[in-house]
């Protein structure tokens, strides 16, 4: 009989949900009660909506408990570990019986996330046990050369998962063909889209997968130095990366004659990004690594020809790198089994917004948005009406509910005006104002513009000003046309991807929700009742009980009425703060 294993998910999402306390509680219990089980940590398994997660593996099988706070932890340990009576009510997934939450996993295919949530990310041994560095071993043992590796990557059909979707193998060919005594490999981990956390989870959950991917790339193109450019806001990812790098060095995976390959010298260091979104753009990223202000430059020359320190450089994002060892290990054909004609393999998505099962999923390319939202995601929060998804963050665009059968592959998504992006998928319901949503994303890009080129610096700002005035009820006839005029010019005349894509949320919302713009501009109404300046709060005379709560809470004394009498909102005084609406216990405040 093996020792029972208790594994707590200690990714950033878990920790945020209180997993650290849960872990400490179990640790304390184990000590004080002198319990005999193995307590371990892992990272995010993707089921963020059920954090903190505690997995118990015993001889019978594995049980994943969800929402385990300190109290429940005691209960679970007591019942399951001590008394061997699993608490089925708390189990969200198990190999012994079906649960409601099984739908979350049923259609996922985990390649990039293969180890996330299953291994202790700080243990090289566990990583190795699940296949880490087997690809490098295979390369070494079978004496596979760079061209063959690149051919495999080409055959796999892997495309850049950072958002561009450029065929990874092709990029490597360019870098390999650039003559130079020095070459660089960069892992772009400057994940900055609002609502996106694919890279963070991957780095926290399986850092060795990324390191191995970079080693394969370095070996293939002939690079000696790797840089992981990771945003400083990911301290746990950086910590685990550094642990992993140290482990890899000790074990000889990095350094001189790395992975036992004669003459292959390769090392990696982590460069912390200072938090500028634009540094996710590869030329700005390299400028930042070089200690310059993070500003992009015109391509060509592409990094593959003239990159970091002027040397040929290959940049891929975290998810792309994590796929590479699997492809080499399992074979390109295995990978290409998944996906569609031009988009092979799987894609990781971060599901956020008005969705029941918020979290991280990895699905084969070709799954429909509807399936992602309603099957894996469990549908819309509070069963409100599904309105749209925003794909690709601020660089992407929205896809309306009526186009939810669009499948996720590069071509299909691009055809809608959105982009696949790095995998942020924000779900919106009927209470989302699409104008305000476009304003929100544009506000983000405007603030994150580096300020270099005219259209991005001033153009996005002007678009934001127009959107802001529309949401404030000051929109004018012709504003939509002006927005479109600006949007197309900004897209075409910006130096880097940030500016080239910043207008996408605006253009797609105008395309699919023009009537909402018109309502704001012409009728001075916000149909989703989000834009405060356009909302009128009135008392529903049928429902008002005269409890006075609204009047007492109104910060500007706009509500009057005697106790037990119907109350009244003075619209001249009301500042549309919405306090009455949230305070009323009888739903007696209506939004018009």
């Amino acid at each position: 009989m093996g020792k029972t294993k208790v594994i707590v998910g200690l990714g950033s999402c878990g920790i945020a949900a209180g997993a650290k306390k849960t872990f400490e509680k179990i640790q304390a219990l184990k000590k004080t009660e002198n319990l005999d089980f193995e307590l371990k940590q892992t990272s995010c398994i993707g089921m963020c909506y059920n954090e903190p997660l505690v997995e118990i593996i015993d001889d019978d099988g594995h049980y994943l408990y969800g929402g385990i706070d300190e109290d429940k932890a005691m209960e679970v340990i007591e019942k399951h570990v001590v008394q061997h009576e699993p608490l089925k009510d708390y189990v969200v997934q198990s190999d012994l019986f079906e649960t409601m939450d099984d739908v979350f996993f049923d259609d996922q295919v985990k390649i990039a996330l293969r180890n996330c949530g299953y291994i202790d990310p700080e243990s090289l041994e566990e990583a190795e046990n699940t296949g880490a560095y087997q690809a490098m071993n295979k390369i070494q043992k079978d004496n596979i050369d760079g061209d063959a590796i690149i051919q495999s990557v080409l055959d796999s059909g892997l495309r850049g998962r950072g958002g561009g979707g450029f065929p990874t193998g092709k990029k490597w060919v360019f870098a390999k063909n650039s003559e130079s005594d020095e070459k660089y490999i960069i892992c772009n981990a400057d994940e900055g889209d609002p609502g996106a956390f694919m890279d963070r989870s991957l780095l926290e959950g399986d850092p060795h997968a990324v390191l191995e991917g970079m080693m394969i790339g370095a070996y293939a193109i002939g690079a000696q130095q790797g840089v992981i450019y990771c945003r400083a806001e990911y301290p746990l990812a950086i910590k685990r990366l550094n642990i992993a790098i140290e482990q890899a060095r000790e074990k000889g995976y990095l350094g001189e004659n790395a992975c036992g390959i004669d003459g292959f010298s390769f090392d990696i260091y982590v460069k912390k990004g200072a938090g500028a979104f634009v540094c996710g753009e590869e030329t700005a990223l390299m400028a930042s690594v070089e200690g310059e202000r993070g500003m992009p430059r015109k391509r060509p020359p592409f990094p593959a020809v003239k990159g970091l320190w002027g040397k040929p450089t290959n940049i891929n994002n975290v998810e792309t790198w994590a796929n590479v060892p699997w492809i080499i290990r399992e074979g390109a054909q295995e990978y290409a089994k998944y996906g569609t004609e031009n988009s092979k393999g799987t894609k990781v998505f971060a599901l956020t917004g008005k969705i029941k099962h918020g979290g991280l999923v990895e699905v084969p390319m070709g799954m429909s948005i509807r399936d992602i939202v309603f099957k894996l995601g469990g549908g819309i929060l509070n069963n409100k009406a599904f309105k749209a998804v925003q794909l690709g963050g601020p660089s992407g665009g929205c896809i309306p509910a009526y186009m939810a059968d669009t499948i996720v592959d590069y071509d299909s998504v691009n055809a809608t005006g959105a982009i696949m992006g790095s995998g942020g998928l924000v779900v919106m319901d009927e209470t989302t104002c699409m104008v305000d949503m476009a304003r929100f994303f544009l506000d983000f890009t405007t603030k994150e513009s580096c300020g270099k080129c005219t259209f991005c610096r001033v153009g996005t700002k002007r678009m934001l000003e127009i959107l802001t005035r529309i949401t404030k009820g000051d929109g004018k006839e012709g504003d939509i046309e002006k927005l479109e005029e600006l949007a197309y010019k900004v897209k075409e005349n910006s130096l880097c991807g940030l500016g080239q894509t910043a207008p996408n949320p605006v253009l797609t919302t105008i395309k699919y929700f023009r009537d909402e713009y018109d309502a704001h501009i012409r009728d001075k109404k916000c149909p989703a009742k989000v834009c405060t300046e356009l909302i009128t709060y009135v008392v529903d005379e049928e429902k008002c009980t005269g409890c006075t709560v609204c009047a007492k809470n109104c910060p500007v004394d706009a509500i009057s009425g005697e106790r037990k009498q119907i109350h009244f909102v003075d619209q001249n005084v009301c500042i549309q703060c919405g306090v009455c609406y949230t305070k009323c216990n009888f739903d007696a405040i209506k939004l018009l």
Binding site: R293, G451, L486
Partner: protein, 1198 residues
């Protein structure tokens, strides 16, 4: 390399691989607009103004897009235009700045007020008037009677409680000064075109139109109905405001160009259009608005009721003034005519002169200053009062008028509150005369005459009864007939009439050239008012309050006559002080601004995308460089040039996105940064965001440019002086042999103030009774003949700033005049063997690209010879050269740019140690030495006698450091040593050169030595033979053997390191003659002083430190009776009358000079020198250098 085939705008052209679209287009003669691109810098692509369309790739920035085979490029289609326009629209939507000042913007004629105020500041009245007359030919008149909308718009009002700059006063002052001058401003008149123009009416409009058209070569004849020309100026404006003689004088400035005025000729009366049509090619109707309107009140036909203008006109026509003694005169109206009427009535003896006006004083259209004067003169006001009826006696003579009180109601169409009668408030006012000054009408009674005699269209009146003319071109229904002034607009102002005349003249000129008349194109102007209303806080802090110099006027008790009331500013000084009140709202770069130019071209709409804008205080904390972020378009050229060319990185970008701005990279001010004050940032700015912090009002005014060579360091940069009549407004680098990209240093850029200094010595001076007094050349001749002793040993010193031609003439003088025993130059007085060959074989400046290593032994290169410093920096940053600074002093700004810094104690010990190491280890390049040098053995045996470790110790380095330094130098294929004579003594210089010889690097491509001399023509001084025997001269000088001394262009006393010794030696002489630009300390003890010519006044050539001779022409007008060359000839001919004449026309190098340019010594000779002397003078003994060094130091102290 194979050429690429490119389709550029539909045509196949050959492209060079690697070039950008912009380069390709430029090579094919196409201009593509760009703001962020700078030839000196790598492509950047931020402005997106240079976009072109590339087939399949949409619009692309041409500055950074490399061409590729088969690329199809369109540089000029609608899509490209739209993209460029929007880029500019967006840039300008955040360009919170005024291109031109509100005064100019508001002036109907668009007179460049800021420009002429700048010229008045420099007392250049003639130029000021020339500038005014581009838009207004009547400055003396307008300077007196203009309604001056400019002053209402003047931003000084915000600071000094409504006290605008006295713009009109200044204009009048300049105009009066100009008219006083025998040589008043007269524009050039083009060759006659043979075309004739008839102008009907000699008022301001007619006169102005004639002024401009005559200049174009069209003969203008003006027909005037009255006896004298002037129109309203003469017949409407009373003499006490505008004297007739002044009027006549100014009219003469128009007729003197060739226009004729025919008086007493009235169209439709004694002049028919039939004749005009026959004799003239075009007609301009400038008939004015001459019919006065009466009161429209009952009884106004009474005797004693006049229209105001008739009243004024009658007096002028009859020459008789009305006798109003003891009478009460009521003037109805609140405009300027009313003011003229009531004040004239007073002057005609009226007991009471009363203004009746239906609104309040605030609504009165008259000039505030006029209102002020009426009050001073005792005019009574009945405001909010309106006439109802004129009451007359039985004889029909005015007895009284019935008035009614008014109150102000709601605003009317004009925005003024409409006066409403107060019912039942009527009352009577006893009076004798009533003057109705409430309006005028156009009287076009010649219409029939014209229309019956015209068969090419019809002249018509508009619904207000004025002549109907095209608003933009002022062409009437008859193509050859144009109209301007009040006759078109209805009664307006003089300046509006002038403005219209300009439009009409422009149209007529086009018409006469058989072109379709078009309006005068208007440039784009950015306006601060498009962003926000200006308030005083926007200006306080930068400017201080300063009340205006009011116009002196006749005493209030001395006004019962028609003499001019306003007396004009008293003096230059008052005018200059008033000019200083100008806030210079317009941009100093207006004429050079690419942003403005493109904005005009692409028809930018500044308010199309208006929104937030960057508003920042102007940073003028740096004494030479001003940063105005409000104007910045973030092209980063300043930031990049400072980093990439200068290497200082003193500027950086702060914040992100829309909030980004340019700021000093460290600290609050550039002064606290690594800034080296070279001013390259200014040269890089495509708009007015980084400008020179000028010490005077830069205008802007249009300047003339002269190309010349920097008169400071010995590098020899090509520069351009931009001047107006000798006053230099700025200096720019131009693309020259030394500085092919136009880069220059701080001396060349900022040290031009000496040219503008007003205390220049322009006449010879003779010391009499201890004091220097101006003298004539005859007197100089007498004094020299009298005082100079032909038997006394005489010395001639010439400075390193003089031209080769001056130096040659001086050398000739010294040879011809027997008394001259010594020739020399103070700044080279210490010169010896070590110097001789130092510049003989230098690595040319254009070989930096292949240099691998530089040993930099110029510890102040960034401050003294920055242009060379730029080359060093480029070698390091662009071509990966290792630059090792070897220095004996602190210079953090330089050190931060270096690959490595080695601190030493002694340059000569260092080189001796290195050479010692080299020779003792037999590491010399024998092949090279055998070929070139004979002296090796002697040198070797001498050097090796020294103790190596003692040398190392004296150098301040360990033996290992010495050997390491040598080895890295020796192993470098292309290694360069840079030395500076200012800081390295002769021993060090000689050894540095010896090191190059011993290693065989001297004379090799991208290798060897660059030695920097101190002055722009130090080398010329040597080449011209002035210092050939300098050691003896030096000895004689300190032994006080020189009894008579001539010093040209040096100030040895003022610059001596040992002032006492130098002064004593000079004072020991019996006679001292000094030539310089300004007073200096040597002049203080001189017997005779001669004025010196600026190099820009005589032209000539300088020889730079690499022996490159660069010639330049004379560009500035000489301020001297005899220029420097003539003076030398004068001296030579005076002191050696029997010798051939010394030519005073040595303007360029001639063959005679060449033998002296050759040096006899073997340039590869190994020189052994133990001489550790450095220059005995600061500032290379040059007064101008000293002035700037002092100014610079002082500027950063305060």
């Amino acid at each position: 390399m194979d050429k690429l085939n490119i389709i550029l705008n539909g045509e196949t052209v050959q492209g060079i691989p690697g070039e950008t679209i912009l380069e390709l287009a430029n090579r094919h003669g196409m201009e593509i607009p760009t703001l962020c691109h700078d030839k000196r810098l790598k492509p950047y692509s931020s402005c997106y103004v240079c976009v072109v369309e590339v087939a399949g790739r949409g619009t692309q920035p041409s500055c950074s897009t490399e061409i590729a085979e088969g690329m199809q490029i369109n540089t000029d289609n609608q899509k490209v235009f739209d993209a460029r326009k929007m880029a500019l629209d967006l840039l300008l939507s955040n360009h919170y700045a005024d291109c031109v000042a509100p005064c100019k913007e508001t002036c109907p004629a668009g007179v460049d007020v800021q420009g002429y105020i700048s010229l008045i500041e420099k007392k250049q009245y003639n130029d000021a008037i020339a500038l005014i007359k581009e838009d207004n030919p009547l400055p003396a008149i307008c300077g007196r009677v203009c309604v001056r909308p400019c002053e209402a718009a003047c931003r000084r009002n915000l600071l000094d409680e409504g006290n605008a700059v006295g713009i009109d006063y200044l204009k009048r002052f300049a105009a009066d000064q100009d008219l006083l001058h025998s040589n008043h401003y007269k524009p050039e008149v083009a060759e006659p075109t043979g075309k004739k123009v008839a102008i009907i009416g000699a008022g301001p409009g007619g006169l102005s139109a004639a002024y401009w058209l005559q200049q174009k070569g069209h003969q203008c004849d003006i027909f005037e109905a009255n006896e004298h020309p002037g129109g309203w100026l003469r017949y409407g404006i009373p003499e006490y405001r505008l004297p007739n003689d002044l009027l006549d004088k100014e009219i003469e400035t128009i007729t003197e160009l060739g226009s004729k005025i025919f008086t007493k000729r009235k169209l439709g009366d004694n002049l028919s259009y039939k004749k005009i049509r026959k004799d003239y090619d075009a007609t301009i109707l400038t008939i004015g608005s001459q019919r006065g309107t009466l009161l429209r009140a009952e009884g106004e036909e009474a005797d004693g009721v006049f229209s105001g203008i008739d009243f004024l006109r009658n007096m002028e026509m009859t020459g008789q003034k009305y006798d109003f003694c003891g009478k009460t005169v009521v003037t109805v109206g609140g405009g300027n005519t009313a003011m003229d009427c009531c004040r004239t009535a007073m002057r005609c003896g009226a007991e009471r002169s009363i203004i009746v006006y239906r609104r309040t004083e605030k609504e009165m259209p008259a000039n505030p200053i006029e209102i002020h004067e009426t009050k001073a003169e005792g005019i009574e006001y009945m405001l909010l009062t309106n006439p109802v009826k004129v009451n007359s006696d039985d004889a029909g003579k005015v007895k009284s008028m019935t008035l009614i009180k008014m109150e102000l109601g709601a605003p009317d169409a004009s925005g003024r509150r409409r006066p409403v009668p107060v019912e039942g408030s009527e009352y009577k006012l006893e009076c004798d005369y009533i003057l109705a000054a409430i309006g005028q009408k156009t009287d076009a009674n010649f219409m029939d005459d014209i229309n019956t005699n015209s068969d090419e269209g019809k002249l018509e009146l508009n619904r207000w009864g004025d002549i109907d003319a095209n608003e933009k071109t002022l062409q009437t229904g008859i193509k050859s007939v144009f109209a301007a002034g009040d006759g078109v607009t209805g009664p307006a102002t003089i300046i509006e009439a002038i403005a219209q005349a300009k439009t009409a003249a422009h149209s007529v000129d086009m018409f006469l050239r058989d072109e379709e008349p078009m309006p005068i194109p208007k440039p784009f102007v950015s306006r601060k008012d498009n962003f926000k209303t200006q308030i005083s806080e926007d200006y306080l802090g930068r400017y201080r309050k300063q009340l205006r110099h009011e116009m002196p006027v006749l005493s209030e008790n001395d006004r019962k006559h028609f003499r001019e009331v306003e007396l004009g500013y008293e003096s230059d000084q008052v005018a200059v002080e008033e000019a200083h009140r100008c806030l210079e709202c317009g941009c100093s770069e207006f004429f050079d601004c690419d942003l403005q130019r493109y904005s005009t071209e692409y028809r930018v709409e500044q308010e199309k995308f208006s929104g937030d804008f960057i508003e920042k205080a102007i940073d003028f904390s740096h004494p030479y460089i001003e940063i105005d972020n409000n104007k910045c378009i973030l092209c980063s050229r300043c930031v990049r040039i400072c980093k990439d060319v200068v290497g200082a990185s003193a500027l950086g970008l702060v914040e992100r996105g829309f909030d980004t701005y340019v700021a000093p990279a460290m600290g609050e001010s550039l002064v606290d940064s690594n800034c080296e004050s070279c001013g390259l940032c200014i040269s890089a700015c495509p708009t007015g965001a980084i400008t020179e912090n000028a010490k005077f009002k830069p205008g802007p005014v249009k300047t003339e440019a002269i190309k010349t060579i920097s008169p400071f360091g010995s590098i020899g940069e090509s520069i351009q002086l931009e001047h107006k009549n000798g006053f230099v407004f700025r200096v720019n680098g131009t693309e020259g042999m030394i500085n092919p990209l136009g880069n220059i240093d701080r001396f060349a850029k900022f040290a031009y103030n000496f040219i503008n200094k007003t205390d220049r010595i322009t006449k010879p001076l003779i010391r009499r009774k201890g004091k220097l007094e101006e003298a004539s050349w005859d007197e100089i001749k007498h004094v020299l003949q009298e005082k100079l002793d032909y038997d006394k040993p005489t010395a001639l010193f010439a400075g390193g700033r003089l031209t080769n031609e001056e130096l040659f003439a001086m050398k000739t003088l010294s040879e011809q005049v027997p008394m001259v025993k010594y020739t020399g130059s103070f700044h080279l007085l210490h010169m010896g063997e070590g110097h001789l060959n130092a510049s003989e074989i230098n690595m040319p400046f254009d070989q930096f690209d292949r240099v691998e290593q530089i040993l930099l032994m110029h510890p102040q290169i960034n401050m003294d010879d920055a242009t060379l410093g730029f080359m060093v920096n480029e070698a390091k940053t662009q071509h990966d050269a290792e630059v090792i600074l070897i220095t004996d002093r602190e210079n953090p700004k330089l050190e931060q740019k270096m690959s490595r810094v080695i601190r030493i104690l002694s340059y000569d010990a260092l080189f001796k140690a290195i050479n010692h190491y080299l020779l003792s280890h037999n590491l010399q390049n024998d092949m090279f030495l055998n070929h070139h040098c004979d002296e090796l053995d002697a040198y070797k045996s001498k050097l090796l006698k020294a103790d190596f470790s003692a040398l190392c110790q004296r150098a301040g380095l360990s033996e290992k450091e010495i050997s390491d330094l040598f080895n890295t130098y020796n192993l470098s294929q292309h290694a360069l040593i840079i030395t500076a004579e200012r800081y390295l003594n002769q021993a060090a210089l000689a050894e540095a050169r010896n090191l190059c010889l011993l290693t065989g690097k001297l004379g090799k491509t991208s290798s060897g030595l660059i030695n920097v001399k101190e002055k722009n023509n130090s080398q010329g001084t040597i080449d011209m033979g002035l210092v050939s025997n300098i050691q003896n001269v030096r000895a004689a000088f300190y032994r006080k053997e020189m009894k008579q001394i001539f010093i040209f262009g040096e100030d040895p006393v003022g610059t001596a390191k040992d002032k006492t010794a130098v002064k004593a030696s000079i004072e020991s002489s019996d006679f001292l003659l000094v030539q310089d630009y300004f007073m200096n300390e040597t002049i203080e003890i001189a017997d005779v002083v001669l004025p010196a010519s600026l190099p820009f006044e005589i032209g000539g050539s300088f020889t730079n430190t690499q022996k490159m001779i660069q010639q330049f022409d004379a560009g500035l007008k000489s301020k001297l009776e005899k220029n420097s060359l003539q003076q030398i000839a004068f001296l030579g001919n005076l002191l050696s009358p029997d010798k051939p004449e010394i030519s005073d026309t040595v303007h360029a190098l001639n063959e005679q000079m060449f033998p002296k340019l050759k040096s006899d010594a073997n340039p590869y000779r190994i020189v052994i020198s133990d001489d550790k002397s450095l220059s005995e003078f600061h500032h290379a003994a040059d007064l101008v250098m000293k002035l700037f060094d002092d100014e610079f130091e002082h500027a950063f102290k305060s």
